[in-house]
Each structure stands twice: as structure tokens, then as C-alpha cells.
């Protein structure tokens, strides 16, 4: 598990809104920055095309200019967040930019899987809940990982899906690779037994 993971189970923060559906991984981290060979330092390129002009100067119209990394650790976005490529650079960039969780009514499968492996929490809730947050920018929320609950100040508590195994790994900082490695005997037995494709 990465250094970004949280050993505590609960955190309180404020929201930051990007009211756009189908935010793809090319928007989160454009392909030109994928030639890196490390995981670090991608926050500066997060939403690059949205934040910067072609000459590298900041875009005055960028909604991300208003983001306060110190207080707004949760991104609220439209549906189907993280669609597109399998690049794990997307959660690496979002984490490095300052986010610890993303709230959306739907996540793309590979993005969700990549996010969980890096301690970026994908919080899937109903459209109505997302809409409430989009209508109330910079809103106080409380996130309880162990109980997979999102508490929205003045609105209510909402359950979000989180596989028990992911919750276990996230709250304890346990690495999923260790879990697979512990099953070495079963893997060896499988290889011994063989399949038609062995």
C-alpha cells in the first residue's frame, strides 16, 4: 500500500466540485505525462489541459483554480468517473494533487480498482446525493471507511459499497500482494494440476 493510505478509518474534510459526467483518464492525466517511470510528482499534471494553456500559463477560466488542497480533500464529480484507459497514473495524480476520495454516482471499473490499491477512496452514491453536493459547494463531509459511510453535514448519512476485503486493506494499510503471496501453496497446486492452457 502506498504512503497515501490512511491508517485511521475516519476523516473529515470539505468537498470540491467538478460537475462533469464521464471524466476520462485522459483528462485526469494526459498521455504526454505517461513517459514517467515513477509514481511520484504527477499532481502538477493532474487535469493539465483544464488548468493550463498551451504555453503553460494557468487558465484563468479553470474551475480547479479555486481548489484549496489543504481543506478540500474530496472531489465530487459527475457520473462514470475515470472512464477510459487503465493508467494507474490517474489515481496517482489525484492523490498527489491532494484528493483522498472521489464521490460519483458511478466509477469506471479499472479506475475504481486502481484507486483502491492506492488508498484513493471511490465513494459511489445515488445521483440525488451527488446532486446535493454539487448544489452545495465546499461542503463539510465525514467519511468512515470501516463502516463505508459518507456523512453530509445537514443532509444525512449514506452507505457506499466497499468490499470487505478493500475496507480491511485500506484501514490496516495491508497490501493485496501479500495476500496473494500467502496463497503460494494453492498457486503451486493449481500450476501442478494444470489447465488446457498450461
Amino acid at each position: 500500500m502506498s504512503a497515501h493510505s490512511d491508517n485511521g478509518s475516519v476523516f473529515e474534510t470539505r468537498t470540491f466540485n467538478l460537475p462533469v459526467d464521464n471524466i476520462d483518464t485522459d483528462q485526469i492525466i494526459p498521455a504526454q505525462f505517461l513517459t514517467t517511470t515513477t509514481r511520484e510528482g504527477l499532481g502538477q499534471y493532474c487535469f493539465y489541459g483544464w488548468r493550463f494553456n498551451e504555453d503553460g500559463s494557468p487558465k484563468a477560466s479553470s474551475p480547479l483554480r479555486k481548489h484549496d488542497a489543504s481543506s478540500q480533500r474530496v472531489l465530487v464529480a459527475g457520473s462514470n468517473f475515470g472512464c477510459g484507459s487503465s493508467r494507474e497514473h490517474a489515481p496517482w495524480a489525484l492523490l498527489d494533487f491532494g484528493f483522498r476520495a472521489v464521490i460519483s454516482s458511478r466509477f469506471a471499473d479499472i479506475f475504481r480498482s486502481n484507486a483502491l490499491k492506492n488508498g484513493l477512496l471511490p465513494i459511489m452514491v445515488d445521483d440525488a446525493v451527488v446532486q446535493y453536493l454539487l448544489d452545495h459547494p465546499d461542503h463539510a463531509v465525514r467519511i468512515d471507511i470501516a463502516n463505508h459511510t459518507l456523512s453530509i453535514e445537514g443532509y444525512g448519512d449514506f452507505d457506499f459499497p466497499l468490499e470487505p476485503f478493500s475496507a480491511y486493506c485500506l484501514t490496516r494499510g495491508i497490501d493485496t500482494l501479500d495476500f496473494i503471496l500467502e496463497n503460494e501453496a494453492a498457486i503451486a497446486a493449481y500450476e501442478e494440476r494444470g489447465t488446457p492452457n498450461s
Partner: protein, 470 residues
């Protein structure tokens, strides 16, 4: 009587090392991992950090494709990368593969190519396999009846170290397509039509099985084109049950079984099909006769219209955003819009049949004066086969650029990009904002539509060039 099961269930079940429980996902065995330079460096680092070895080097196959130049080396034999970092990334894959003893198809290999073109060509992709790669278009290999899906870099590391992945079982989505495709309609048009119908999130959480008479009638390269874009509706994988077309494609390829092994293999592969009565979680049906040559008009692959159709008139924020980015108007036609660049290539449409289709229109014709045309074969083997039948000549004579294999302008990592405002008719798979260069407007299309647009210099209906009814 055993419960009837789907093709997906059969392949999944064969690879379960440890069953899913209430508390833990299943451990799934992976038969083949494909590797490339972009999504592997941090995975090899993790192995190094933990002191782990690659468990099964015989189940790894690597290539260089994303960051590589598609221009030939200069007179001194030097290849010019877009950036020093791109070259460093490619160099690092050489180091990692050498250190771990992984087969890498580099510049000197006659097989080097886009990872999803090379694997099938070498016969590495086989029915019933589980195949992964740090690349979302891994779904391509499902055309052979393999369960093939893209994974992130952390999981690339898991497979390198253990040959296994933790997976929760996905749902199944049956997509049935029946009937004969009309003239000028290809597998690319079929999949664009499907994505346009079910939406960019319509397959999320699912593995698709494509079936029906239209799918049966497709050759392997068409099936690969269709499965390739499964991820564009959110599905992890797309599969087609193997049949004689599959076996004929595979027989004699270098990594395919041979001799007695071949007979045993096809006997087994023939059992990989969905039983009568087996249920998909969801089923969507299409009639091939309803499908016209299709293109995208917006900023995701679900924004699809027939090439002779009109751009939707909607006022939702996503449509407005798309129209603004594309400099288009709701209710207008996209056909006739000036085209700056035509890109024929990518893991979706860079195989020999794609190049033949494009060449069939370009033969004896010229590309429009103001339109630049890049033709990028998917692999060295494809390039060689195309050159053997003179396709390179046809493209060059028409005024197109015949490039070296690679991902090229599909994602523009190697510097093959357009200028701001350019409109690109592209046979690739994604039309996201900025994907082919800042403020570049991408129109996804079939190789036939791309070639027709190359000739006229405007977005064009390929049926105008095919004779018969337009």
C-alpha cells in the same frame, strides 16, 4: 445435468485458484501477461523493492509500442523519440526484461508491434486463456474466446510476482447481433453503433459476450476490432466463442499448439461456448440491417451518429460542452466538415484487412490537397505483409505517409499529434478531449470512412465510393 453456463463462466471457472468468499475476492490464475513500456516500470520497481522474482517468465510477452517513434531511423541509424523521457522509458523496459529474462520484441524483432496486434499474430492469444496487460484495450484478445482485460500497474506487479490476480466476479452482458451487414458497414461501425446505443457506462461491471449470425460471419480481425472497444462502453472484457474461423486463424502461428497438441487444443476449444439456456445478467439485441457507417461527433465514444446522420440537438451540459469543443452545431450534419488529418492505425484498426480496406478506396486516387494522411500498420508482420502485396505503394502514390508500427496518433504519446483545432478522422478508439493533441477534434470512424474522407478532404460516406446503393 450440469447447470448451463456462459462462455465467460467456463473460462473463469477454469482459472480459479481460490474461490471468492464473503470476505475475500477470488484468486484468478493468469495464463499470459502482455507488457509494454508505459505501464510496467513501477511494477518492476515494486518487485525490486520487495526482492521478488518474476514467477513465470514463460507467461510474459513484451513489446515497445506506445512511446516509440513511427518515423524510420535517420541516416546514422538513430531513432528520434519525442522526448528524452520517452526514450528512457523504452530503454528501461529493455533493462527490466533482460534482468528478469522476459521475451521482449524490440526494434530488431520481426514481430514487434502494438501489443494487441502482436499477441494474436504470434499465436500467443488462444481460446480459453486468461490474458492481462496494463492497457485497457486488452479486451481485443477476447475475440478468440479468451478472458482478456486491462489492469493497472499495481496489478501488473501482482501478476509478475504471482501469476495471479484478486478478482471479484463480474456480471455478464450478452450482445446479440443478427443479420447481414450492409455494404460499407464494418465491425468498427458495429461497435460504434453498440456503444452509441448502450452508452459509455452501459457495460460497467460486465464482461460482454458478442454473438449472433453477424458475429459468426466476421473474420478474426473484425472480431478483434469489435472486442477491442468493449472498454469504451465500460466493460472490462468482450468475448466471442471460438469457432472454425478462430482455429483457421491460429493454426500454424509460431506460438500456437502444433501436431497432436493442436488436435487436443481444438477439441477443447470447441467446448468453449455458452450453453443453450444459460443466462446473461443482461441481454441487448441488434439487427445488422439497422447499422450504417458510423462516426463520433463528440468527446466520448458514445457520441455516435451514422455518417449521413445529424448531430443531436440537445441542451444538456455534456452535449453543449462537446459541441463547443468540437466547434459543431446540434442538428447539423458532420459529413462535409473539412478534415485536416486522417489517421489509419491503432490496436482497433491497423491490421492487414483494415489496410486493405483503406487501400481499396485509395487505389488510383489522391488524398485531398489540404489533408494529411498517416497510415500506421499495427506490427512489423502486418507491415511486411502489406508491403508484400503493394499496399504501401498504393498509400504512398495517393499521397499518404506510410509509417513504422506503433500506437502513434491513437494517444499521441510519441509526438504524432495534431495542431490545435485540427479535425482528425481517426480509426482509433477514443475521441476524448486533447487525446490527439491539445484542442484537436477527433472523429472516430472505420478504415473505409477514413479513406473516403482522405480522398475528399471532408468527412465522407464511404458508400459513395463503393458503387451500388449509397
Amino acid at each position: 445435468m450440469p447447470q448451463p453456463t456462459t462462455l465467460f463462466e467456463k473460462v473463469w471457472q477454469r482459472h480459479v485458484v481460490r474461490e471468492e468468499t464473503a470476505d475475500t475476492p477470488a484468486i484468478l490464475y493468469i495464463d499470459l501477461q502482455l507488457l509494454h513500456e508505459v505501464t510496467s516500470p513501477q511494477a518492476f520497481d515494486e518487485l525490486r523493492r520487495r526482492g521478488l522474482k518474476v514467477r513465470r517468465t514463460d507467461r510474459c510477452l513484451a513489446t515497445i509500442d506506445h512511446s516509440t517513434p513511427t518515423t524510420p531511423p535517420d541516416a546514422a541509424g538513430i531513432r528520434h523519440y519525442a522526448t528524452e523521457q520517452a526514450k528512457a522509458q523504452v530503454d528501461l523496459l529493455h533493462v527490466n526484461c533482460a534482468e528478469h529474462g522476459i521475451e521482449l520484441h524490440s526494434w530488431d524483432s520481426p514481430n514487434r508491434g502494438i501489443v494487441h496486434v502482436m499477441g494474436p499474430e504470434m499465436g500467443a492469444t488462444q481460446p480459453g486463456m486468461t490474458i492481462v496487460c496494463g492497457d485497457s484495450h486488452t479486451a481485443t484478445h477476447g475475440a478468440f474466446g479468451a478472458l482478456a482485460f486491462g489492469i493497472g500497474t499495481t496489478e501488473v506487479g501482482h501478476v509478475l510476482a504471482t501469476q495471479c490476480l484478486l478478482q471479484s466476479k463480474p456480471n455478464t452482458l450478452g450482445i446479440r447481433i443478427d443479420g447481414e451487414l450492409q455494404q460499407g458497414v464494418t465491425a468498427k461501425d458495429v461497435i460504434l453503433h453498440v456503444i452509441g446505443s448502450i452508452g459509455v457506462g452501459g457495460g460497467t461491471g460486465s464482461v460482454i459476450e458478442y454473438f449472433g449470425s453477424t458475429v459468426r460471419a466476421m473474420d478474426m480481425e473484425s472480431r478483434m476490432t469489435m472486442c477491442n472497444m468493449s472498454i469504451e462502453c465500460g466493460a472490462r472484457a468482450g468475448m466471442v466463442a471460438p469457432d472454425q474461423v478462430t482455429f483457421d486463424y491460429l493454426q500454424g502461428r509460431p506460438m500456437a499448439p502444433a501436431g497432436a497438441d493442436w488436435e487436443a487444443a481444438i477439441a477443447d476449444w470447441a467446448t468453449l461456448r455458452t450453453d443453450p439456456g444459460a443466462q446473461y445478467h443482461r441481454l441487448v439485441e441488434f439487427n445488422a440491417a439497422d447499422i450504417r457507417p458510423s462516426i463520433t461527433w463528440g468527446i466520448n465514444p458514445g457520441m455516435v451518429i451514422p455518417v449521413d446522420g445529424r448531430i443531436p440537438e440537445r441542451t444538456d451540459s455534456e452535449t453543449r460542452d462537446a459541441l463547443e469543443y468540437m466547434h459543431l452545431r446540434g442538428g447539423a450534419s458532420l459529413a462535409g466538415e473539412p478534415v485536416n488529418i486522417v489517421f489509419i492505425g491503432s490496436c482497433t484498426n491497423s491490421r492487414l484487412s483494415d489496410l486493405r480496406a483503406a487501400a481499396s478506396l485509395l487505389k488510383g486516387r489522391q488524398v485531398a490537397a489540404d489533408t494529411r494522411v498517416l497510415v500506421v500498420p499495427g506490427s512489423e508482420a502486418t507491415r511486411k505483409a502489406a508491403e508484400a502485396e503493394g499496399l504501401d505503394r498504393i498509400f504512398r502514390d495517393a499521397g499518404a505517409e506510410w509509417r513504422e508500427p506503433g500506437c502513434s496518433m491513437c494517444l499521441g504519446m510519441n509526438g504524432d499529434i495534431g495542431r490545435p483545432g485540427d479535425l482528425v478522422v481517426s480509426t482509433s478508439n477514443r475521441n476524448f478531449k486533447g487525446r490527439q493533441g491539445r484542442d484537436v477534434r477527433t472523429v472516430l470512424a472505420s478504415p473505409l470512412t477514413a479513406a473516403a474522407s482522405a480522398i475528399t478532404g471532408v468527412v465522407s460516406d464511404p458508400r459513395d465510393f463503393l458503387g451500388g446503393e449509397a
